[in-house]
């Protein structure tokens, strides 16, 4: 599944990088990129930052996770601006992205991953 990557979008830069650190512990071979905060580094999200996180990810198929609703709007905007295939999950940010990354690490297929994510849907 080296074609798959994980993208973390949060309103706060530290949350995004922190979640990536948590994930990297169990998914050393999965590409994880982040978009945290606004372009100025404040609390918020940025469609352009998200687009950069898409492009800099080594994966061509991306599993994307976000914290609050307004991040989702910017994610969907960024989705329209990239050629990569982006799957957007309305699941708990930390718990969902951790689950997905752990499963990607051991080569699980997307359908199985999505089945594992289903109970984490809260948005």
């Amino acid at each position: 599944m080296s074609d798959y990557g994980v993208v973390i979008v949060s309103h706060v830069p530290e949350i995004a990088t922190g979640v990536a650190a948590l994930i990297n512990e169990v998914a050393t071979d999965v590409s994880v990129t982040t978009a945290g905060g606004t372009d100025e580094g404040g609390v918020g999200t940025s469609a352009l930052k998200i687009q950069s996180a898409f492009e800099s990810n080594a994966g061509q198929c991306l599993l994307a996770f976000y914290d609050l609703g307004s991040a989702k709007m910017n994610l969907e905007l960024a989705q329209e601006l990239t050629n990569k295939k982006v799957y957007l999950y309305d699941v708990a940010l930390i718990e969902g992205s951790y689950t997905a990354a752990a499963l990607l690490q051991v080569g699980t297929d997307l359908a199985t991953i999505e089945a594992q994510l289903a109970p984490l849907k809260i948005k």
């Binding site: 469609a47 609050l68 609703g69 307004s70 709007m73 910017n74 905007l77």
Partner: protein
């Protein structure tokens, strides 16, 4: 009917109004949100102002497109992708028509595509919807706009950050509705609607 002149005038008046009401908009966002709506819109409109004054666009579609891109990249909050998508959809349609009513309707459709909110959920949609109806009936005036903004006060938010406080959102004007109110009062001032 949108023209290069009245569109630029509209956006300049909107920018001035947003800068003047910045603190008030953030205050509205404090009890039912994170208190940044005025700062978000101020940052976004300042970028719009700078882009439009340096780029000297000569057609309506590119003015609207530039506005959209600045709002998308600079606002930071939910209002960024919402207003940004609205202007993007208006920009797209403006190469076909410059009539105000269909353009605003395309903008509203963009807001709904992005945010999935319906009328009555205490968002800027609750201003855009009655304003468009009034434009279509050729009856838009300041009172219509003001009434729509004030009507959000009694609504309970079910979308956006304000939805987290549930019933406690009742009794406060929605900040996005207020900024949309300014968008439409300055549209009237700019003479965009005949």
């Amino acid at each position: 009917m949108l023209t290069v002149e009245n569109t630029l005038k509209w956006l300049e008046l909107f920018n001035a109004k947003i800068q003047a009401e910045k603190d008030y908009l953030s205050e509205l966002d404090t009890p039912i949100g994170d208190g940044d709506h005025g700062n978000n819109m101020s940052r976004g409109l300042l970028a719009v102002h700078e882009a439009l004054t340096t780029q000297s666009a000569t057609d309506v579609p590119s003015i609207l497109k530039t506005t959209a891109m600045m709002l998308i990249s600079k606002v930071g909050g939910a209002s960024g992708p919402l207003y940004g998508t609205a202007f993007l959809e208006m920009a797209k349609l403006s190469s076909t028509t410059l009539e105000v009513a269909p353009l605003l309707a395309a903008g509203l459709a963009g807001i709904q595509k992005r945010g999935h909110a319906q009328v009555g959920e205490k968002t800027l949609i609750d201003v855009w919807t009655p304003v468009i109806q009034a434009v279509e009936a050729d009856m838009l005036d300041g009172a219509t706009i003001e009434t729509a903004v004030m009507a959000t006060k009694d609504m309970q938010a079910t979308k956006g950050r304000a939805s987290y406080v549930g019933e406690r959102s009742i009794g406060h004007i929605d900040p996005g509705a207020a900024s949309s109110g300014y968008l439409f009062t300055t549209m009237l001032m700019a003479g965009v609607v005949s």
